[in-house]
């Protein structure tokens, strides 16, 4: 049976949702082990051990792993893969940064952003901005995989009884260091795990209008706020709001696209949403081809009225 090591995405004290989808993908292959790497990660390790279906939880607590620098964590993962058959990471920025480094060190190909596990060596993944789905079979003995979070159910956070085991540090390779971070303050649900998303596009005119139009609607319904690349590039919204091929991939219950035309790069990031609602004044906008519910009209009239009536 396949023994899979899953990269745990965490903030030292708790496990992030992206991990839970990766655990579900791993469970389709066989035995699931976790890796919690970082500095001062007892909280995250304890949470990880409770995830349903988890066997061993490897904990690597060392300053070298504090910021998940790929140069330092990849050798650790390679060592652990001596006794595992596969490595799975959620397709977060950490996962995407680390997994290919691990794959190359093992001399195996990586299967990026999988949508499904067809068998122990066969997977589906989106290519061409999600305009095609490829079914690929890996010929490598060990598998290195990243998982699209929105494509897999989240494993339950409770009910597991994983065995926590400390692993020795592989040390700091001394070729890179963390300088600092600017983490955007989030007053709303996180984009990739939100049930409802309100997203704004270029039609919002400027940052003030974006905030004044989109935020009240989002807050009224407890939604996360997203943006198209056009809105981000124009400076209406910070870049971590971006939904699309090059931004975040989301699949909420309800996605409300406001003033977004629906370029293929944007659709790649949201077309798996359960219900898509489009508000746009151009009735020929491509967004209406994927929208379940559309309304043609001036967003500056519709959105405030909608906010008030909800």
């Amino acid at each position: 049976m396949t023994k899979t090591l899953v990269w745990v995405e965490h903030d030292n004290v708790s496990v992030k949702d992206a991990t839970l989808s990766a655990v579900t993908a791993a469970s389709k292959l066989g035995e699931v082990h976790l890796l919690v790497a970082g500095k001062g990660v007892d909280g995250a390790a304890a949470e990880a051990a409770k995830i349903a279906g988890v066997g061993k939880v490897h904990v690597a607590d060392d300053a070298a792993f504090e910021h998940a620098l790929a140069e330092n964590v990849a050798p650790l993962i390679v060592e652990l893969l001596g006794s595992h058959d596969a490595f799975i990471a959620p397709a977060t920025t950490h996962g995407k940064n680390i997994a290919p480094r691990v794959a190359a060190l093992l001399d195996v190909a990586q299967i990026s952003d999988i949508l499904s596990v067809e068998s122990e060596d066969t997977f589906t993944r989106p290519i061409y901005a999600g305009n095609a789905i490829a079914t690929v079979r890996s010929k490598d003995a060990k598998k290195v995989i990243t998982v699209r979070g929105t494509a897999f159910e989240k494993a339950a956070r409770e009910g597991g009884s994983g065995v926590v085991e400390a692993v020795a540090s592989t040390g700091d390779k001394g070729i890179s260091s963390f300088v600092g971070a600017e983490i955007a303050k989030l007053e709303r649900p996180e984009l990739t795990s939100a049930k409802v998303i309100v997203s704004g596009g270029r039609a919002l005119k400027d940052a003030e209008t974006f905030e004044a139009t989109i935020f009240p609607l989002a807050d009224k319904i407890g939604a996360a706020v997203g943006a198209s690349r056009a809105a981000v590039d124009a400076g209406y919204a910070p870049n971590d709001y971006q939904v699309g091929q090059t931004g975040k991939i989301v699949a909420p219950e309800v996605y409300i696209a406001v003033g977004i035309s629906g370029a293929i790069q944007h659709l790649a990031g949201m077309k798996d949403s359960k219900t898509i609602i489009a508000i746009n004044k151009d009735e020929d906008a491509p967004i209406f081809q994927v929208a379940d519910i559309g309304i043609v009209g001036d967003l500056f009239k519709i959105v405030p009225e909608l906010t008030e009536k909800l």
């Binding site: 910021h67 620098l69 790929a70 140069e71 977060t92 920025t93 940064n97 290919p100 480094r101 691990v102 794959a103 190359a104 060190l105 195996v108 990586q110 299967i111 990026s112 989106p126 290519i127 061409y128 901005a129 999600g130 305009n131 095609a132 490829a134 690929v136 890996s138 010929k139 490598d140 070729i175 890179s176 260091s177 963390f178 600092g180 971070a181 600017e182 983490i183 955007a184 409802v196 319904i221 590039d233 910070p238 971590d240 091929q245 090059t246 219950e253 309800v254 077309k271 219900t275 209406f288 994927v290 929208a291 379940d292 519910i293 559309g294 309304i295 519709i302 909608l306 009536k309 909800l310």
Partner: protein
């Protein structure tokens, strides 16, 4: 310092790809091809580093069919100094590309390799990281700012939730995110000049690298189609629909 910039010829980002009816892939016959958008950003960044005096020479590399020459000429017209085409009709996976690039790095000895973060055809997002692994170099992926100072380079990275900055010892690998810069257009005189810049043609065999694919593509299909939606006439109707979806009380 020399900078190596790998560039890939891909379907133009404005073209909607069509899946072939026989399920073998995406139809690329008579489709407009261009330089991968992230690679344009990589070329631009290399040129800016040269303009600032941080780089002395820019070598553009592409691995692919003979027509990838056009992509290299575009890089030369933007400001790259010379180009290397590793010509092959086989599809080369990121691991194979990284192995060839590692050999070229050994020959050329660049201080930085700047790649796009992902190609918009296979959407893998692997090559830069794999090259860094093979060389044992540090990696600054998803870069939105690059500052070279002495033997180190500070790279600001776009990460989930915001930005982070890492300091890398050079030589290093950088992969570009969209907001790193706005690539320049090649002017007509520069396009003319690019025709006489050196372009060496090689083959994967010249580098003695095994590029046999490790992944077998069994099928390429259309994504599930969404069923046709409805249009509502006014906000009241939209409110009713949203309430039915449980979005509001």
């Amino acid at each position: 310092m020399k900078i190596l910039v790998p560039v890939k010829r891909v379907i133009d980002y404005n073209v909607k790809p069509r899946v072939k009816a026989d399920g073998t892939g995406v139809d690329l016959a008579n489709v407009k091809m261009s330089m991968n958008p992230f690679d344009e950003i990589a070329v631009e960044e290399a040129i800016r580093l040269k303009e600032k005096g941080a780089a002395t020479e820019i070598v553009a590399v592409s691995i692919g069919v003979a027509k990838a020459q056009e992509t290299l000429r575009t890089a030369l017209a933007m400001g790259a100094d010379r180009a290397i085409l590793v010509q092959t009709d086989d599809e080369v996976e990121p691991l194979g590309v990284a192995k060839i690039l590692a050999k070229i790095v050994e020959e050329e000895g660049p201080g930085l390799v700047i790649l796009g973060k992902q190609a918009i055809d296979d959407d893998s997002n692997q090559t830069g990281q794999m090259l860094a692994a093979l060389l044992g170099w540090p990696q600054g992926t998803f870069a939105s700012k690059v500052e070279v100072s002495g033997d180190t380079v500070d790279v600001t990275r776009e990460v989930d939730g915001g930005l982070e900055t890492v300091k890398l010892n050079t030589p290093a690998i950088i992969t570009t995110d969209l907001r790193l810069n706005e690539p320049r257009y090649a002017s007509l005189p520069n396009i003319m000049k690019a025709k006489s810049k050196p372009l060496a043609t090689k083959t994967p065999a010249d580098y003695g690298v095994d590029i046999a694919p490790r992944l077998e593509t069994l099928k390429v299909g259309e994504p599930p189609k969404r069923s046709a939606g409805i249009k509502v006439a006014d906000v009241d109707e939209l409110v009713a629909k949203l309430k039915a979806l449980g979005v509001a009380a």
